[in-house]
């Protein structure tokens, strides 16, 4: 499905959202890398040779810096969805609804060939909502357990073992979900390959919006039309 270059586009991600996303994925990437360095096989680690000690030291520092930055961006995001109009609109559209279940059933039946067309979906598809709230769930777990392990001296060792198990389990789940869910849908999806540029320029093309977020597209058109009408009426008022 090719999209012409000079096609009309809509705002998918605002500047604030894009900045939050960049901080989130850079930190998460570093966290996954430096975290799983602890799970490396012995022979892999031994390839570092005498530099291993230094690498291990910086691994810990980088993991903590990235952990703090990801915590801060998550806290900021919580404030953002509560305090800012832009954020409130975001969370309002993100909240799961009964219709999401219907969309899921319809979309899956379309993909398997039991339906003629994809359902018209909202601003956020059911999969995007699942991904989004998985981040809440995951972040809650890794931040709490990570903080526990950072302040290890004050916790019973057994609680730390539990924290460690949760931290690793959640990290593994998140890393796999990001690779299989997110990276595939925004990079390897044939519709957007090699990548969905929305995270850079924040734009979504009209055709893609129509196809993947049909209801939102209609809603946006309506909103633009009313805005335009209001603007004209206001303009008329000024003139009068």
């Amino acid at each position: 499905m090719s999209h012409s270059k000079n096609e009309r586009s809509f705002v998918r991600l605002t500047k604030s959202q894009r900045i939050q996303h960049v901080i989130l994925f850079v930190s998460t990437g570093l966290l996954i890398l430096t975290g799983f360095m602890l799970m490396g096989e012995r022979w892999v680690i031994e390839m570092f040779g005498s530099a291993g000690d230094t690498i291990f030291y910086w691994r810990g520092i980088v993991h903590r810096i990235a952990g703090v930055s990801v915590t801060l961006v998550c806290l900021y995001h919580l404030g953002y969805v509560v305090l800012q109009a832009e954020g409130r609109s975001w969370i309002k559209d993100m909240l799961p609804r009964m219709s999401d279940a219907t969309f899921a059933v319809q979309n899956v039946s379309y993909m398997l060939g039991f339906r003629e067309a994809r359902p018209k979906m909202e601003r956020f598809t059911y999969l995007e909502k699942v991904e989004y709230f998985s981040v809440y769930f995951g972040m809650f777990i890794v931040i709490v357990t990570g903080t526990m392990m950072w302040t290890e001296q004050y916790w019973p060792k057994f609680w730390l073992d539990i924290a460690d198990t949760f931290h690793l389990g959640e990290a593994t789940l998140a890393a796999l979900a990001i690779i299989i869910g997110h990276i595939f849908s925004v990079h390897y999806n044939p519709h957007v390959y090699p990548m969905n540029k929305a995270f850079i320029d924040g734009k979504i093309s009209e055709s893609m919006m129509k196809e993947e977020h049909g209801l939102w597209y209609e809603r946006e058109l309506e909103r633009l039309a009313t805005e335009k009408a209001e603007a004209t009426s206001e303009g008329n008022g000024d003139n009068a």
Partner: protein, 375 residues
């Protein structure tokens, strides 16, 4: 007169013979080897195959490299100081070296004969010795001095490790004998260093303590989980600042020694519940550690499967450990199921999407073909 002549002749003859024979002995050997052991033991091929206690064939090498021997800790000792009972040549079935033997060397700190006897006695009484073990009938399993002291006993290349031996010039300002000063200096320098890296310590202890069969035989917990702990992982990277086995089980800083390791159920053990907190806090490692950090849980999991009761008839540590292991296992299982479900679900969705795209393409192609035909 005649007898006198004969005696002088014999003396002269012997002298000449000795002088002649001396030509065939390397000059260096003559200097230290007044016992003449190297006459045979200098030959690199000297050795034989023998059976050890377990009836396994082992290679026994009797070759002594003189240069290395002279540079070793024991290089100033005579062979027979340690290898006692060598009275005739050829000698067979000489007793094994006993490290508790008194040396014919004076300990400069006491003026008396130097000996490793006190350390040997400490070891005997420790959990690793015949007097301290729970299973006195399994003495052959217990570590001997040489089972641990396997590191290179040579002081060769110390100059390289030190980068320079320049400092010795300061010593030589007062101490006249260069050979003695050199030796003393190397000794002090060598002992001031950590003998083994943490990685080597873990490998050494694991030789027995990770051997389930052996540990079961001695009713000792087999250590299986250390490599998965943070300490274990840091050690693999070469971090020397985290605790290895000895830092907790025999911390020199707290007055313990690897030669005096005792069971953790003994109240004087550094890892006994009463002392664990002090153990964690030592050397500024976990300086603010709280009681629960030290005692509520294990520093490294061990798979304890045997029912065991200590002197007071209490088995709490073991039960707690099993419950804890179960909790950890359940959390891991929860994540395994969750991961399979999420990855499976996402994977299914992705494949279905690819299938849909494939169909869309086919339809688009057909439409394009149709379009061409109609136009």
């Amino acid at each position: 007169m005649k007898t006198k002549h004969t005696a002088r002749d014999i003396t002269v003859a012997l002298f000449l013979l000795t002088a002649f024979l001396t030509l065939f002995i390397p000059a260096a050997a003559m200097a230290v080897d007044d016992e003449n052991c190297l006459m045979c033991h200098k030959y690199a091929g000297l050795g034989r195959y023998a059976k050890n206690e377990e009836q396994k064939a082992v290679k026994r090498i009797f070759y002594v490299n003189e240069e290395l021997f002279k540079a070793s800790y024991h290089g100033k000792l005579r062979c027979k100081n340690c290898h006692t009972g060598v009275e005739e040549i050829p000698h067979t079935d000489v007793k094994n070296v006993d490290c508790a033997t008194d040396c014919h060397l004076n300990d400069p700190s006491t003026g008396r004969a130097f000996s490793h006897k006190s350390i040997v006695n400490d070891l005997r009484k420790s959990a690793h010795g015949p007097d301290g073990t729970k299973k006195p009938d399994l003495i052959k399993d217990l570590p001997k001095c040489k089972d641990c002291h396997t590191n290179k006993p040579y002081q060769i290349g110390i100059g390289k490790e030190l980068k320079s031996m320049q400092f010795i010039k300061v010593c030589l300002e007062c101490h006249e004998s260069e050979a003695w000063t050199n030796r003393f200096y190397k000794h002090m320098f060598y002992r001031a260093q950590t003998r083994r890296s943490s990685k080597q310590v873990v490998a050494l202890c694991s030789k027995c303590h990770a051997d389930k069969e052996k540990m079961d035989r001695h009713e000792v917990d087999v250590v299986i989980g250390f490599k998965d702990t943070f300490h274990g992982k840091a050690i693999v990277y070469g971090d020397e600042d985290v605790a290895n086995c000895l830092n907790c089980h025999a911390p020199y800083q707290l007055g313990f020694s690897p030669h005096r390791i005792i069971s953790h159920t003994d109240s004087s053990s550094p890892v006994h519940p009463d002392n664990k907190l002090r153990d964690c806090r030592q050397s500024g490692c976990h300086a603010d550690a709280q009681e629960a950090f030290a005692n509520k849980g294990k520093a490294h999991p061990s798979n304890v499967m045997t029912e065991r009761v200590d002197e007071d008839g209490v088995t709490i540590y073991q039960e707690e450990q099993e419950f804890q292991a179960w909790v950890i296992e359940m959390i891991a299982l929860f994540y395994k199921i969750l991961i399979i479900a999420v990855v499976g679900g996402l994977g299914f969705h992705r494949l279905a999407d690819l299938y849909a795209t494939h169909r869309e393409r086919k339809i688009a192609l057909r439409a394009a073909k149709l379009g061409r035909h109609t136009s």
